[in-house]
């Protein structure tokens, strides 16, 4: 039997009381597996498990039994038992078992039903501690679209703001995010929040395709930064290692490959996030379990943002998309090969394809934030195009920019953002 995970003292007390043993096997196995690497969880994740199990502990045994009865019934029909779901194990083997079981749809429905009852109670705790949050999503300057063709899937959800574009194109993002032109070492809105009373570690994030946003700001408060461009050494090493593992047929199947990939950690020389075990593991997970994140810059940005929301619940997020390259001949056959070296054909930007990709990703990013109680009703989203004379604000009515009129200067926008966040 596996040891109890090294969780917080409060949670350990609950687990020692046998709380997990009172829960359906698949549910407890999943939770146990998630908590196994407690030290690699973000504070928001730890807080979630403490709240969840605290609430279950406070509930009467009858209420817990009633909550999970449908799930237990489905588990019985599926053949979930100690053998198929050994305590604390929720690997690909268990995922396979569920996926291939004829009762899988019922299992999913039963899990959803349980969370539909749990979430409102957990959410109300979160909502009581709510505060203003900010998400800025920046599109690259090269997109071949005018403002009327931008953010079409979010049309009708917010207000379009006229912007006075600065004389120097390179000042656009610095003015928006720091209030100053390029080259001044003034803090970004993300840094200001991280240094404020609601800030702290893991509260402000920058996720981007290039490195332009990460390079802004002053030395000072820690902001989590993930740049597809800056992670290039790690990405290339990962691709090489995966390729050699696959080509040498060292692993018989996906399960073994998954275990092997877990060992491929970022090196100190490959990025600052290596210094923090939580962020290092996050980088590995994003690049190796997120579909095309190794291959396409914007997929990396979208998936890293979505995962940051799910796991870390940042209060300020600056998200910078880029332009992906056109697919070269045979690229789909050489997934883990360096596209630059396998073909002498020069890389070309796919601006139109990137535009199409991003129209979908704006929606995905926005709706991911909105799934969680932390963000509903108190988050301002600002969709901007680098150098574009319009922005889209999707925000509560009291977000200052919702009342603004006329072409706005970017430093004025920045002041409104500061006011919103109280920094």
């Amino acid at each position: 039997m596996p040891d109890t995970p090294q969780v917080s003292p409060a949670l350990k007390t609950l687990l020692d009381k046998g709380l997990l043993d009172r829960l359906p096997l698949s549910f407890s196995a999943f939770c146990f597996d998630q908590m196994k690497d407690w030290d690699l969880l973000f504070p928001a994740e730890r807080g979630y498990y403490e709240r969840l199990f605290g609430m279950l502990d406070r509930s009467s045994p009858q209420a817990v039994e009633q909550l999970f009865r449908p799930l237990r019934d489905v588990e019985r029909q599926m053949g979930v038992n100690e053998k198929t779901f050994p305590k604390g194990q929720f690997s690909l083997k268990q995922v396979d078992f569920l996926n291939r079981n004829p009762h899988y749809p019922e299992w999913r429905a039963a899990v959803a039903q349980a969370f539909a009852k749990l979430d409102p109670a957990l959410d109300s705790e979160i909502a009581r501690a709510g505060h203003a949050r900010l998400v800025i999503v920046a599109a690259p300057a090269q997109l071949p679209a005018d403002p009327s063709r931008m953010w079409t899937r979010l049309q009708g959800r917010g207000k379009r703001l006229a912007i006075e574009v600065p004389e120097r194109a390179e000042d656009f993002l610095p003015l928006l995010l720091t209030g100053e032109p390029q080259g001044r070492a003034t803090p970004t809105i993300a840094q200001l929040f991280a240094a404020g009373k609601k800030g702290g570690a893991y509260t402000s994030w920058i996720v981007e395709a290039g490195a332009g946003i990460s390079g802004l700001g002053a030395a000072g408060p820690p902001v989590v930064k993930y740049s597809y461009a800056a992670l290039e050494p790690y990405r290339k090493r990962l691709m090489g290692e995966v390729r050699s593992v696959v080509e040498a047929q060292e692993v018989p199947g996906p399960r073994q490959l998954s275990a092997r990939l877990k060992q491929m950690k970022i090196l100190a020389s490959e990025g600052d996030v290596a210094k923090d075990p939580i962020l290092a593991e996050f980088a590995r997970a994003i690049l190796l379990s997120g579909n095309g994140t190794l291959l396409i810059n914007n997929t990396f940005v979208e998936w890293a943002t979505v995962q940051a929301v799910r796991r870390a619940r940042p209060s300020v997020a600056l998200v910078g998309f880029g332009i992906r390259n056109k697919v070269k001949p045979f690229s789909s056959l050489l997934i883990y090969a360096d596209q630059e070296t396998t073909s002498p054909i020069p890389s070309q930007m796919d601006t139109l394809g990137s535009y199409v990709d991003l129209e979908m990703f704006y929606q995905y990013v926005w709706q991911e934030f909105e799934k969680y109680a932390e963000y509903r009703t108190n988050t301002a989203y600002l969709f901007a195009g680098d150098g574009m004379e319009e922005m889209l604000a999707v925000a509560p009515a009291d977000f200052p920019l919702m009342a603004a009129s006329g072409p706005l200067k970017l430093p004025a926008v920045f002041q409104h953002l500061k006011e919103w966040l109280g920094v």
């Binding site: 080509e247 199947g253 996906p254 045979f330 789909s332 002498p344 054909i345």
Partner: protein, 383 residues
Amino acid sequence: MPSLSKRRFVQLAGLSIANRILPGWLRAQEPQRSANKVIIVTFGGGVRYSETFAPEGLHNIPRLVAMRPDGHFFNSCVNSGVLSHFNSTASILTGNWQRVDDFGFQPPAGPTLFEHFRKQTGAGPLDAWAVATNKSFASMGCGSDRAFGQPYGANVVLPKQLLLEAVQEVVKKGTAGGVADREDVLRRLEGVLSEGYEGIGWTIFQAGRKLDRQVRETLLRGLVEYINGPEAPTSGDELTFFITREIMREFAPRLILVNFWDMDVAHWGSYSLYLNAITRTDRLTGMLWEEIQANANYRGKTTMLVLPELGRDGDQNTANGFLNHRSGDPSCRNMWLLAMGAAVPRGQTDRTVHHVDVAATAAELLGVKAPGMAGTPMRELLL
């Protein structure tokens, strides 16, 4: 051009003459079901209704839209099984919901349509083929039932794997042109064909360890056409099409599975690449239908059944929208099916059919009894 044997010529001429001189009431009974051919096309890799036959998706599939009035369209074809490519396609082929290994490490449970067809009709090994872009489909040619199995299975060809071998060789050698050098890639392809195919997972039942010369030449023709095509060859599905066409021209099999798979590029997270793949598959499916109409061995006696093996997650409330296809939401399961063929009544059916009904229907069309299938024949196609 493939050579036309004297016997085949006489057969074809005979049919042609019969069409002209026989009375209508007698002609109506022809062709005999036992002479029918069936081509099952998985419009695949995973595609949603919203990007295909939903009003907002029609512009992605102009060829299918144009074909639809001449065929029979099933508005609702539901995949109630496991939402992996292998299990979904194996369900289509066996008529039973499959729950085997998702990555093809196990064969389908129970006999496939190929085996029922060959065992009952005595059809030879060149009469049943599976041409698949998905590399895990090597074991798709026959199931695990010992009463059937390999002696009655289909030839399985994985053209993309062949290409992969060649491309990897080119990359390893580091030639100046890299993979952009079509001639070099083609030389490697030929080499792989000459050296044997087992390393790339193919199952050619007739040929043993080495590729039969005729099979090899047939596949090579498909490769040459692909490599020297007007566009840069980037798509595994294009190669699958060319190989399928060569097999049709050379061997005229009565039962073929064509597995397209390019759309699964959606996993990369590029919506535009996913849309491009849909339009390419639409074009290739249209070209396949053109080949059926142009090829005397197929014209007038072939039913083509086109369906996505699975959808993809919906944009709302799922793991990551179009990138994946495991959530089990309606967007993953609710598909469509388009049947084309001379004997196919034009029209549309709104009742729900299922992926497992495809094998049962195809068995009827081939004049084969296939007991033990969960699926039932689509009566709309068997009038």
